[in-house]
C-alpha cells in the first residue's frame, strides 16, 4: 500500500508540466498519426506502382480530396459544437444544380456571381438547419435527417429530370481544375485556404474558441455568458456555405449535373471528421485533423485500385478505419486521464 501512495503523494504542484505536455501531445499525436498513416499509404502504393506519384496522379488525388476536405472542415465546426449536419450531401447537390441552372438560364452572368449564388444556396440551407437547431432547440441529428430528405426532394423537384451538361457551362468555369499553381490545382488551393482560414479562426478568435466551449459543456457555456444559440447557429451557416462552395466546385469539376449529385456523401464527411480526430460529442478536434482525415479517405480510394486490391474492399477498409480512429481517440483520452490523475496533488 505504501508503494502506491508514495507515487501519489509528493507533488505539491497542481497538474504539473507533465499534464501540459500530455494535453497538447494528445492532439499532436492524433494528427501526426493520420499524417503517418497517409504517408505510409502513399509510400507503399508508390513502391508498388511508381505511377502513383506522377504529377497527373497527384493532381487527381488533390482534386479528388478537395470536395471532401471542404465539407469535412464545415462539418467539423458543426460537430465541435456538439451537433451534426447530415444534410450536407443534399445541400451540395442543390447548390451544384443551382449553379448549373444559372449558367443555363442567365448565360450573361459573370462566373464569380454565379459561383457566389451557388454558395448562397448552401448558406440558406445551412441557415435553415441552424435556425431549427438553435432556435427551435431540436436535436441536430433529427433536423438534418429531415432536411436531408427535404433538400434532396427540392433538388429533384427543381431538376425535374433535367441534366446540365458540360456544354451548358462556360469553358473558363469548367477549366478551373486545369488552372494550377506549382502543379497544385486551383480547387485544391481553395480547399487549402478554407482549411487554414477555419483553423486559424477556431484557434485564434474568441468566437472560435467559444465554439469549443459550447461543445465541451453547453450548460457551463451559458453560465459564462456565451451566446450559445448564436454559436450553435453560426457553424451551421458556415457549413452550409462550404457545402455550397463544394457544390460550385463540383459543378466545375464534373460538368454533368443532375438532382442526384452528392447523394450519400454525408456519412463519408462525418467519417472524415471522425477519422481526423474530431470527437463526435463535441468540444475537441481540429479542422486540420479533419482535412487530413478527408485526405486519407480519398487516398485510400485512389490507392486500392493501384495496389490491385479488389475495390470492393474499399468500403470495408474505410469502416474499419473509422472504428480504429475512434478507438484510438478513446485510448488516448483514457491514458491521458490516468496520467493526469497520477499527477494530481490531492485525491491521492
Amino acid at each position: 500500500m505504501t508503494g502506491v501512495s508514495a507515487t501519489q503523494a509528493p507533488v505539491a504542484e497542481h497538474g504539473g508540466n507533465g499534464a501540459v505536455r500530455t494535453g497538447r501531445r494528445i492532439r499532436q499525436v492524433r494528427e501526426l498519426g493520420i499524417l503517418l498513416a497517409l504517408v505510409l499509404l502513399v509510400a507503399i502504393t508508390t513502391l508498388t506502382n511508381p505511377n502513383f506519384l506522377s504529377s497527373q496522379s497527384v493532381r487527381d488525388l488533390l482534386l479528388g480530396a478537395t470536395l471532401l476536405t471542404i465539407l469535412a472542415v464545415g462539418q467539423s465546426m458543426v460537430i465541435i459544437t456538439r451537433n451534426v449536419d447530415l444534410s450536407v450531401g443534399s445541400t451540395l447537390g442543390l447548390s451544384a444544380f443551382a449553379t448549373g441552372t444559372l449558367f443555363v438560364s442567365l448565360p450573361a452572368l459573370p462566373i464569380p456571381v454565379v459561383a457566389l449564388a451557388g454558395v448562397l444556396v448552401g448558406t440558406v440551407c445551412g441557415a435553415v438547419n441552424g435556425a431549427l437547431v438553435a432556435a427551435a432547440r431540436v436535436p441536430a441529428l433529427v433536423v438534418t435527417l429531415g432536411t436531408l430528405y427535404a433538400f434532396r426532394g427540392i433538388g429533384h423537384w427543381w431538376a425535374a429530370g433535367e441534366q446540365i451538361n458540360a456544354a451548358d457551362m462556360p469553358d473558363t468555369f469548367l477549366g478551373l481544375g486545369r488552372v494550377a499553381v506549382l502543379n497544385i490545382p486551383a480547387p485544391a488551393l481553395i480547399a487549402l485556404a478554407v482549411v487554414l482560414t477555419a483553423g486559424w479562426y477556431l484557434g485564434s478568435y474568441r468566437s472560435g474558441r467559444e465554439l469549443y466551449a459550447v461543445g465541451s459543456d453547453p450548460q457551463a457555456a451559458r453560465l459564462v455568458g456565451i451566446p450559445v444559440d448564436r454559436r450553435v447557429f453560426f457553424p451551421f451557416v458556415v457549413n452550409g456555405s462550404l457545402a455550397g462552395l463544394a457544390g460550385v466546385l463540383y459543378a466545375a469539376r464534373f460538368g454533368t449535373l443532375d438532382a442526384t449529385v452528392g447523394t450519400g456523401l454525408e456519412l463519408e464527411v462525418v467519417a472524415a471528421a471522425v477519422v481526423g480526430g474530431v470527437a463526435i460529442f463535441g468540444g475537441s478536434g481540429t479542422v486540420y485533423g479533419a482535412a487530413l482525415g478527408a485526405m486519407l479517405l480519398t487516398t485510400i480510394g485512389a490507392a486500392l485500385p493501384m495496389l490491385r486490391v479488389d475495390p470492393f474492399w474499399q468500403q470495408a477498409v474505410v469502416g474499419l478505419l473509422i472504428i480504429v480512429a475512434i478507438g484510438l481517440d478513446r485510448l488516448l483520452v483514457l491514458r491521458a486521464a490516468r496520467r493526469l490523475r497520477g499527477g494530481e496533488s490531492r485525491g491521492a
Binding site: Q56, G161, Q163, G175, T256, D258, T260, M306
Partner: protein
Amino acid sequence: MLRTRTHYGLTAATLAGLMLVTAACGGTTRGDADDSGGAEAAGEADPNAEIPEGLAISYLPKQLNNPYFTYANTGGEEAAEELKGEYKEVGPSEANASSQVSYINTLSQQGSDVIVIAANDPDAVCSSLQQAQQAGSVIVTYDSDTGKDCRDVFINQATAEDIATTQVEMIAEQIGGEGEIAFLSATPNATNQNAWLELMEEELAKDEYADIEVVDTVYGNDDDQKSFNEMQGLLQTHPDLKGVVSPTTVGLAAAARYLSSSDYKGDVTLTGLGTPNQMKEYVEDGTVEEFALWDPKNMAYLAGYAGASLSAGRITGAEGETFEAGRLGEYEVGADGEIVLGPPTVFNEDNIDDYDF
C-alpha cells in the same frame, strides 16, 4: 448470369462450425427442382384488332430523373399521343430494384394497361411484374430486359452483335489496329452491358484484331463521379493503354471529361456509346473522334406501339408476329419476344449537330 466470384471462402470458413450443426438436417438446396411461376401469354393474335382509345401506357424508367430516360420517354409520349392513349411516367429517384417494385405495384393497382419498364435488376422486379400481368397489364421491357417469363416483349435497342461489332470497329480503326485497350462499363450485373462485353471480347478474338489486347474491365456504376474516378484509375494503372471503350453514356461522358483535362488527351482513344448532346463538346475539342448509340426516343416510341398492340390483342408476343409501329414502320417479334429497334448510329464531327438529345 450467376458466375459469382469465389469470395465465399471467407464466409464459408467463418461459418463452417455453425454449418456442421445445421447442415445435417437437409432442406431446400440449389439443385432442387422448382416450378417457375411464369404465366405464359395465351390466346391467338388478331392482327386486325382495334387499338382502343384511352389505353393507359405507363413508363417506368430505371430512375426518374435520368436524362437519358427523360429524353427516351419523349418518344413514349409521342407514341401514346398518336395512339390516343394516356401517357404516364413514374419511377424512383434512385436506381435500385426494390423501389421499382413499389412503382410496379402502384401501376398495377391503378390498372395501367401497358407497363413499359427498364429493369434495374432483372430478377428483383420479376415477381411483381408477373403479378401485374395477372392483374391484366401488358409488360414491355425496354433498354434493360428482365427474365423472359416476366414480360411480354422486350424492345432491344440494337442487337448485341451490332453494338459489339460497331464499337470494336470504331476502336480498332482509331488505335490503328493494335495496342492495349480497356472497358469502362456500368454495373457488373447490368444484363446488356455484360452481353456486349462478352460479344466484344469474342469479336476481338478474331484474327483481324489479334494485335489488340483487352487489359482491364472497370465499372463506373453509371455514376458520374465513380466513372470519372475509374477512368482516372485505368489510365494510371495501365501506362501503355491505347484506347478505352465505354458502352454506357454516363461512363463515356465522364471518361471524356477526364480525358479532355488530362495529359493523356490525344494519346488515348476513347469511344463507346454516348448521347450527342453530352459528347458534342468532346467531339469538337478532339478528345473523342466518334461514338455510337441508338436513338432512345425511337426505342420508347416502339415500346409504346408494341405495348398497345399487345394490349389490343394484335400480337401475343409470339415469334414471327408483326405489327405496325407508327412512323417507324413494321416490326417483327423475334425469338423470346424480342423486338429489335435497328442498328446503332455512329456520331462524329460531321453529323453530331443533326441530333439533339
